[in-house]
C-alpha cells in the first residue's frame, strides 16, 4: 500500500510542465479534483438559477387566486422541473463538488483515486441535465411531478416526449453520481495519509464515505424504475399499467426505495460540513466523535427501511404501516442526537459568529423544525391528514433548504477562502444571512398552515376560500425575498473573489489538513505530510510547533 500515498499528479506526468493557467481549455480538459469540484459547484449554480426561476414563476402564479399567469400545462411542467432540478441538478452536484474538492485535501491525498473517471462523471451529469432541459425545446418538459407517479407518466396520460427525457436525463445524471461515489469510496479507503485510521477521519470525510455507500445502493431502484418506464412507454410493456396486469404502486415502491435514501444523501454531507464548522468556530473537538459518526451510519442503514412512509395513503394496510411507522420514527433518533451533539460541541467553547457559524446555528433551528414536521409523517394517522397537502411542501423545504442548503452555505463561507485565496466579505455575508433566513421562513412557514387548512399540493391555482389568498401572497413575497438574496449572494461572492482580503493558509485557525497548504491549493496538493495523530491533525501540528518555540 505504501506506493499509493500521495497519488497523481506526479512530477513526471507529461503535462506537469504545462502552464497552470490555460483558460477555458484547461477547465474543460482538467482531471484535477479541485477544478472538477469547482465545475460541479458551477453546474449546481447554473441549475440553481434555472430551478429558481421556475420557483419564482410558480410563486407568481400562486400569488393570487384563480390566476391565469401560467396555463395548467406550463405550471405542471415548471413544478416538475423545479423539483427534479433542485434534487438532481443542484443539491447533488453541489454536495459532490464539495466532496471531490475537499475529501482528498482532508485526508492528505493529491487527487481522487480515478481522476479521469471524476471528470467523466461530472460531464456526464452535466449532459444529463442539459438533456433533461432540452425537453422544453422538444415539445414540452416532463409534467408528472419529480416523483412522476404511474400511470400518469404513461403514454396514455403523457403523450409528449417530456417523460422520456426525464428517464434518459436522470439515468445519465444517476450514472455520473454513482461513478463519483465509487471514486470517493475508493479514495477514502485507499488514499488516506499515514496514520489516519478510520477513527481519525475528519467527520466531513466520514459523512461523505457513508453518503457514497448510500448513493451506490439507492440509485439502482431508481435506474430500474426509469428503465421499466422507458420500456412501458417505448416498447409497450406493462410494468405500471393495471389494465394489463401491471401495478402503478410498484413505481412508488421503486421510486421511494430510491427517493427516501436520496433525502439523506442530500443532508449527510451537510451534517459533515456542520461538524467541521462547529468545531473550528467553537475551538473545541466534536462532542462525541463516535456518536456523531455512529448516528450517521445508523441513518444510512435505516434510510433503506422507511420508504413506504411516502405511501401511507395508498392503502397498504395497518400491518405494513406499523412497521414503516416504527422505522421512520426510529430514524429521527440518530438525527436528533446529532442536533444535541452539535450543541454539546458549542457548549463551553469560545464561539466566533462568522457567517459560516451563523448558517450552522440557523441550521439547527430550521432543520429541527423540518425534522419535527417530518416526524408528523411517521405518525401514520397524522400522515393520513397531512400527506400531499401544503404541509409537506413546507416540511420538505425546511429539510432541503433549512437543512441541506444552510449546511452548504455554511460550507461555502467556511471554505471560500481556501478555494479562492481571498476572504469573503463578512459584513455583506451577514446581511445576506439575515435576508435569506427571513425570506426563507416567510415563504415556507405559512405553508404549514395552508396544509392544515386543506390546500393540496401541486395545484396550479386555487379558489379564494379559507384564507388561501393572503397566505399564498405572503409566501410569494417571501419567495421573492429569497430570490433577491440569491442575487446578493452572487454579487458578494464575485466581489470577494475579485477584491477580498488575501486569506493566507489558515484564516480560521482551523483543524484539518486542507488548511496546512496554500490558498488556493497548488496543483499538487501536498509535498510532505506529517504522521496523523488525531482527527484534528492541523491542531496537532500547531500545538507541536508552539511547544517547540516554548523550548519544551
Amino acid at each position: 500500500m505504501e506506493k499509493f500515498y500521495i497519488p497523481e499528479p506526479d512530477s513526471n506526468l507529461p503535462n506537469a510542465n504545462i502552464s497552470n493557467n490555460q483558460g477555458l481549455l484547461q477547465w474543460i480538459s482538467s482531471v484535477d479534483h479541485k477544478q472538477i469540484g469547482i465545475l460541479y459547484l458551477l453546474v449546481g449554480v447554473l441549475f440553481l438559477v434555472l430551478g429558481g426561476i421556475a420557483a419564482l414563476l410558480i410563486r407568481i402564479q400562486l400569488a393570487v387566486p384563480e390566476n391565469n399567469f401560467l396555463t395548467p400545462e406550463m405550471y405542471n411542467q415548471l413544478f416538475t422541473m423545479h423539483g427534479t432540478t433542485m434534487v438532481f441538478l443542484v443539491m447533488t452536484p453541489i454536495i459532490l463538488g464539495f466532496s471531490v474538492y475537499f475529501v482528498p485535501l482532508m485526508i492528505g491525498a493529491n487527487d481522487l483515486a480515478f481522476p479521469r473517471m471524476n471528470a467523466f462523471s461530472m460531464w456526464l451529469s452535466l449532459f444529463g441535465g442539459v438533456l433533461l432541459y432540452f425537453s422544453f425545446l422538444a415539445g414540452g418538459a416532463p409534467d408528472a411531478g419529480w416523483f412522476n407517479y404511474a400511470p400518469l407518466n404513461e403514454r396514455t396520460y403523457a403523450a409528449g416526449s417530456g417523460i422520456d427525457y426525464y428517464c434518459i436525463g436522470l439515468l445519465l445524471v444517476g450514472l455520473g453520481t454513482v461513478a463519483t461515489s465509487i471514486n470517493l469510496i475508493v479514495t477514502i479507503v485507499y488514499y488516506r495519509a499515514k496514520g489516519m485510521s478510520m477513527k481519525k477521519l475528519p467527520v466531513f470525510v466520514w459523512m461523505v464515505l457513508v453518503n457514497s455507500f448510500l448513493i451506490v445502493a439507492a440509485f439502482p431502484p431508481l435506474n430500474a424504475a426509469l428503465s421499466m418506464l422507458l420500456l412501458d412507454r417505448q416498447l409497450q410493456s406493462h410494468f405500471f399499467n393495471s389494465a394489463s396486469g401491471g401495478s402503478p404502486v410498484v413505481w412508488q415502491h421503486l421510486f421511494w426505495g430510491f427517493g427516501h435514501p436520496e433525502v439523506y444523501i442530500l443532508i449527510l454531507p451537510s451534517f459533515g460540513i456542520l461538524s467541521e464548522v462547529f468545531q473550528v468556530y467553537s475551538r473545541k473537538p466534536i462532542f462525541g466523535y463516535n456518536v456523531i459518526v455512529g448516528s450517521g451510519i445508523a441513518i444510512a442503514l435505516l434510510a433503506f427501511g422507511v420508504w413506504a412512509h411516502h405511501m401511507f395513503a395508498v392503502g397498504l394496510g395497518n400491518t405494513v404501516y406499523g412497521y414503516f411507522a416504527a422505522s421512520s420514527m426510529l430514524i429521527g433518533i440518530p438525527t436528533g442526537i446529532k442536533i444535541f451533539t452539535w450543541i454539546g460541541t458549542m457548549w463551553g467553547g469560545s464561539l466566533r459568529f462568522t457567517t459560516a457559524m451563523l448558517f450552522a446555528m440557523a441550521f439547527l433551528v430550521e432543520f429541527t423544525m423540518g425534522g419535527l414536521s417530518g416526524i408528523a409523517f411517521a405518525i401514520v394517522p397524522i400522515d393520513w391528514q397531512l400527506t400531499d397537502s401544503y404541509f409537506v411542501v413546507a416540511h420538505l423545504h425546511y429539510v432541503f433548504v433549512g437543512g441541506s442548503l444552510f449546511g452548504i452555505f455554511s460550507g461555502l463561507f467556511y471554505w471560500f477562502p481556501k478555494m479562492t485565496g481571498r476572504m469573503i466579505d463578512e459584513k455583506l455575508g451577514k446581511i445576506f444571512f439575515w435576508f435569506f433566513v427571513i425570506g426563507f421562513n416567510l415563504t415556507f412557514f405559512i405553508q404549514h398552515i395552508l396544509g392544515i387548512k386543506g390546500m393540496p399540493r401541486r395545484v396550479y391555482t386555487y379558489a379564494d376560500i379559507h384564507g388561501y389568498a393572503w397566505m399564498n401572497m405572503l409566501s410569494t413575497i417571501g419567495g421573492f425575498l429569497m430570490g433577491a438574496s440569491f442575487l446578493m449572494l452572487f454579487y458578494l461572492l464575485f466581489k470577494s473573489y475579485k477584491s477580498g482580503k488575501i486569506a493566507g493558509n489558515d484564516p480560521w485557525d482551523a483543524y484539518t489538513l486542507e488548511w496546512t497548504i496554500a490558498s488556493p491549493p497548488p496543483l499538487k496538493n501536498f509535498e510532505t505530510l506529517p504522521h496523523i495523530e488525531s482527527y484534528r491533525p492541523f491542531r496537532d501540528i500547531k500545538l507541536a510547533k508552539k511547544d517547540n518555540q516554548n523550548g519544551k
Binding site: G344, G348, S350
Partner: protein, 312 residues
C-alpha cells in the same frame, strides 16, 4: 381564529376527532423539543461568545452520561408515539370484513362519480351521506391515481386504478363539507374539489328515493328542443340521463343535475350562466377537460341549458 373554518383542527367526524387528539399530543411533544433546541442555542450563543482574552477552551470530547440521555429520552418518546400510532390506526381504520359500502366513489380525470350499492342512484361531485352513522366508503379510480380528502373528516385515502380502498366515516352533524383531490392527477388536479352533503337519516333516505327515479316528463318546448339536441349532438355519447336514450357513462350522470348546487367538481355554482359558458367553450372554463366544444348556435345552447335545468 384562522384554524376554525376548514382545518384538521376542526374535526367533524369520529375519525377526525380521534386524529385531532393525536395531533395535540404531537404538537405538545414537538413544541417541547423545538423550544429546548432554540433555548439551548440562545443560551450557548450568549454565554460562550468568544472574548479576546479567551485561551483555547477546555477540550471536552464527549460525555457518556449526556449521551445516554440524548439517546434514551428520544427512545422513550418514540415508543410512546408508536403506541399511540398503532392504537389510533386500529381505531380509525379497522379492517373491512364483508360489510357493504354505503357509497362507491370513483375518481376520474377530473371529477368524482358516486354510486350507491343496492340502489339505482348515480351522481357526480356532490356526494350525499347520512350523518350520525358509521358508513363505509369504497374508493376506486378509473384512470390515474386520485386521492379523497375532506380535512374535517380526518384521514385521506388514495384511489388507485386496479385496486380498491375503503374508508370509514362517521359524520357528527348534517352539513356541507369541503375537500379536494390530494394526489396530483394531471392538468385539472387543482379543480377537483369535493363536496360532501351530510344529511339526517330521514333526509338522506328521501334523497336516495328521489335520486333513484328517472327524469320527469318534460313539457316546456324550449327544454324539449334542448333534449333533442342533447340526444342528437353526441352529448348522449358520454353522459347518462336515466329515462332517456342517453346511457353512456363516460362523463358525469346528469339525471338530476339541476338538483346539484355546483357543477365542475364543485368549482362553479350551478347557474344558467355557468352552464351556458361551459357548454360554449368547455376548455376555456376548465382547461384540459375531456368534453369537446360543439359550436352550437346561441339558440341551441339556450335550449340545452333549459333542458338541463329541468333535470331536478
Amino acid at each position: 381564529m384562522i384554524l376554525t373554518d376548514i382545518s384538521i383542527f376542526n374535526p367533524q367526524s369520529a375519525s377526525g376527532q380521534t386524529l385531532y387528539q393525536l395531533d395535540i399530543y404531537f404538537i405538545i411533544a414537538a413544541s417541547f423539543i423545538m423550544l429546548l433546541v432554540v433555548g439551548l442555542l440562545i443560551y450557548v450563543a450568549l454565554k460562550f461568545k468568544a472574548k479576546p482574552t479567551d485561551g483555547e477552551p477546555s477540550q471536552i470530547k464527549g460525555s457518556k452520561k449526556v449521551e445516554v440521555f440524548m439517546i434514551g429520552i428520544p427512545f422513550l418518546m418514540v415508543a410512546f408515539f408508536f403506541y399511540l400510532t398503532v392504537k389510533t390506526m386500529k381505531q380509525v381504520e379497522p379492517s373491512v370484513s364483508n360489510e357493504r359500502p354505503t357509497v362507491v366513489i370513483t375518481g376520474k380525470q377530473w371529477w368524482w362519480q358516486a354510486t350507491y350499492p343496492g340502489t339505482k342512484v348515480v351522481t357526480a361531485n356532490e356526494i350525499h351521506v347520512p350523518a350520525n352513522r358509521k358508513v363505509l366508503l369504497k374508493l376506486v379510480a378509473a384512470d390515474v391515481i386520485h386521492d379523497w380528502w375532506v380535512p374535517s373528516f380526518g384521514p385521506k385515502m388514495d384511489m388507485l386504478p386496479g385496486s380498491v380502498n375503503y374508508l370509514w366515516l362517521n359524520i357528527a352533524k348534517p352539513g356541507v363539507y369541503e375537500g379536494a383531490c390530494s394526489e396530483f392527477c394531471g392538468r385539472q388536479h387543482a379543480k377537483m374539489r369535493i363536496r360532501v352533503i351530510a344529511q339526517t337519516e330521514k333526509d338522506y333516505q328521501k334523497w336516495l328515493t328521489k335520486s333513484a327515479k328517472d327524469i320527469n316528463p318534460i313539457t316546456d318546448s324550449l327544454a324539449l328542443a334542448g333534449a333533442a339536441i342533447f340526444q342528437k349532438s353526441s352529448c348522449a355519447a358520454c353522459h347518462q340521463i336515466r329515462g332517456t336514450a342517453a346511457v353512456a357513462k363516460v362523463g358525469p350522470d346528469l339525471t338530476h343535475l339541476a338538483s346539484r348546487k355546483t357543477i365542475l367538481s364543485g368549482t362553479k355554482s350551478n347557474t344558467k350562466e355557468n352552464l351556458y359558458a361551459f357548454i360554449s367553450n368547455p376548455d376555456a372554463v376548465k382547461p384540459g377537460v375531456n368534453m369537446p366544444r360543439f359550436h352550437f348556435t346561441k339558440a341551441q345552447k339556450e335550449a340545452v341549458v333549459a333542458y338541463l335545468n329541468t333535470l331536478k
